[in-house]
Symmetry: D2
Subunit: 226 residues, 4 copies
């Protein structure tokens, strides 16, 4: 799993955070999804927190529309907001309802500190910086789930969490990851140049990417403790 | 034309800016669209500026997604961003192409000061305030065009600008105005209460609405001088 | 310790979060400062994290200047930024240097997740909302330290952490707390009215205050584990 | 008047907008201040608008504190906010009072469209971009007044507007211009590198600088028509 198919910048950022990236994409929670040993209670707890997460993550993608400088940048960001608000959030509502969690209960989920830390970090990076700072904070979630979905789609030994895995393994989600990878590459090239990794900003952008990845690790860890 | 069908808050804000509202919705530019006497050159100049306007206006609606506090608020704002970015901007591209203005020329339109003043005012009101401050700045454009389209749909004595008029007279656009009116009412009620016009904030919100209306007047005036 | 001397709104918000407020202002870390049993290593660890905290907290107070609507609001916020950037941050530099931590080491302190969560929450509340949302997130830190300083100034049974205690117990800091309390009251009255606690917004503002208080508890807890 | 003493980036940006810069710094309003032929009514009208301008310009400098990434960046920005809020705004209050305009009248000055356009452009550039975008929008006002003050200090043939000229000709203001010029150079170098003018971002930053300069021209023009 090289990550190169999500674009050049992502592959470089992922490499610069290799160890943390592994902690995130091979977390015990993920392995529990793969072999079906993850307790149902933990999964549902995670799903409810992830619903709250998606509210703020959608807001952060809407901020990417605000921070766009070209029509193409706007279109990709708008497409992502749509996919999140109209589809992914509905998916969570559906799975939760099937598990006996009503929509009202879902909406009323109290936000855990690990959840809050992550989304506020992403939003603040976006508000205080430009589109690059925001994309560096958004990328680990988008592409990490793409990578996890792709791997578990091939390696899963249980059907327990098949629906969840398929969501991120399938073509639509993988295409979205590629679109975001292309956006990251083109936004960097437009603002910094083709050799963006030689810019003084690069280290800071990689640092933002790594912090977001660490916050993903904390999020999985939180998922294990309902 | 009472404006009441776009919600209670809009009707009150419109009434509080009655004279300026009239200057805006009955501007010479508008009357020229109605009877077909508006010079083609002025119309195309306006259309190109309006394209640049829509870029920033879409960004402002995306900011409304960021500033939303409920799923319903998010959905209405996302729907408006979509309509603007995917549809209304394409409409301008189409009309301009039919008039011999290429997409490249359209994209390269230098922004006039009256245009810049308006969109930056709206965006800054949104960034510095909450959703209410932003909606008060967004409403005059959305509903004013609805009201103009509705009136000209009934009163136009020429078919010269029929396509433009129909865009804003027809059901889709009128429904969007009602959705934004409902959003304004519910966002005010949620944050201030049902008697929002008794709040100390009301005057300031009406002032924002009036300033945006004045900037609409300046925009039409700019349209008359290519 | 009623808190009433820091203004009416603060007293009400504090009351609405009574239990969490107690967890914060009577945390084991605080009691260790009082009787001198807090390990030196924990104190210095806390101080370094608090330096990083103050960078972002100062940025949040600068955002309060941006979000001000009156000259008086601006003056109080500017005064607070000055006190933080020019004085309180220097105090930390001084204590750390005396303890053998160079300024370079201090600047290079890696930010802990509990620290990041808190400041990004405050900044995002300010960016996404208006001055009231921001002040509700800023108040627990300002006034909590005022209350702790005042109590420990009277109750401390050891001189080990006397310098730290005096900073927050003394007149300058207590005056700053009163100025912020007055700002909170007047900003609420200006925007909502004198009976601000009857407004639908009040619950949300109290929720922001409580979340910030919970993040203070987490910060002390982090301080205990270098 | 080369402008080089306000730093390298400023000299380059100024050169890239040479004609507009000349329109701004040699505007008829400025020449009227130099030879004393500017009508008193126009000067007082300008001064009242400039007071409203300074409120929002101070907010924009506070935003520069929020967008800072180093302690040095914060210190320069905080120093500028202080100078604006505590000193320059008071100067305007004093001159206006001496001219029979009470503080209440001054505060109640209705904002002209040319004024609003400028400050909202600067604030929005700062909110949507990073510190570089904000500084490129702030520089023309700061350094332009420095250059005008310096030239008129040497060339003025009348004492009518001597107080105003001295404010910007004297050492304190000139030092502030140098500090802002240094901040611009170091912020660019930190984020882009020493050859910042070779970056793809440079054109956009120069465009922001030029737009702000055009808005200064419009502001002087507005000053001539009370």
């Amino acid at each position: 799993m090289s990550g190169h198919h999500y674009g050049r910048a992502f592959a470089l950022m992922r490499e610069a955070s290799a160890e943390t990236w592994r902690d995130y994409t091979r977390h015990a929670f993920v392995e529990g999804l793969k072999d079906g040993t993850l307790p149902r209670e933990a999964f549902l707890h995670y799903l409810r927190q992830d619903y709250v997460f998606l509210i703020h993550f959608s807001r952060a993608w809407a901020l990417a529309v605000v921070k766009s400088e070209t029509h193409d940048e706007m279109l990709t960001a708008v497409g992502t907001v749509n996919a999140l608000v109209a589809e992914e959030m509905q998916l969570h509502v559906g799975i939760c309802e099937a598990a006996g969690i009503t929509q009202d209960e879902l909406f009323a989920t109290p936000e855990r500190a690990e959840n809050l830390a992550y989304t506020r970090f992403v939003l603040e990076a976006g508000y205080s910086g430009d589109l690059l700072d925001l994309l560096a904070a958004l990328a680990p979630c988008v592409m990490g789930y793409g990578e996890i979905g792709s791997r578990l789609g091939a390696e899963a030994t249980s059907d327990t969490y098949r629906d969840w895995i398929d969501t991120y393994a399938e073509g639509d989600y993988q295409s979205a990851c590629q679109a975001v990878g292309d956006l990251l590459d083109s936004a960097l090239t437009r603002r910094i140049g083709a050799d963006f990794e030689a810019s003084p900003r690069w280290d800071r952008l990689c640092h933002t990417f790594r912090t977001a990845t660490e916050l993903e690790v904390n999020f999985w860890q939180m998922g294990l403790t309902p």
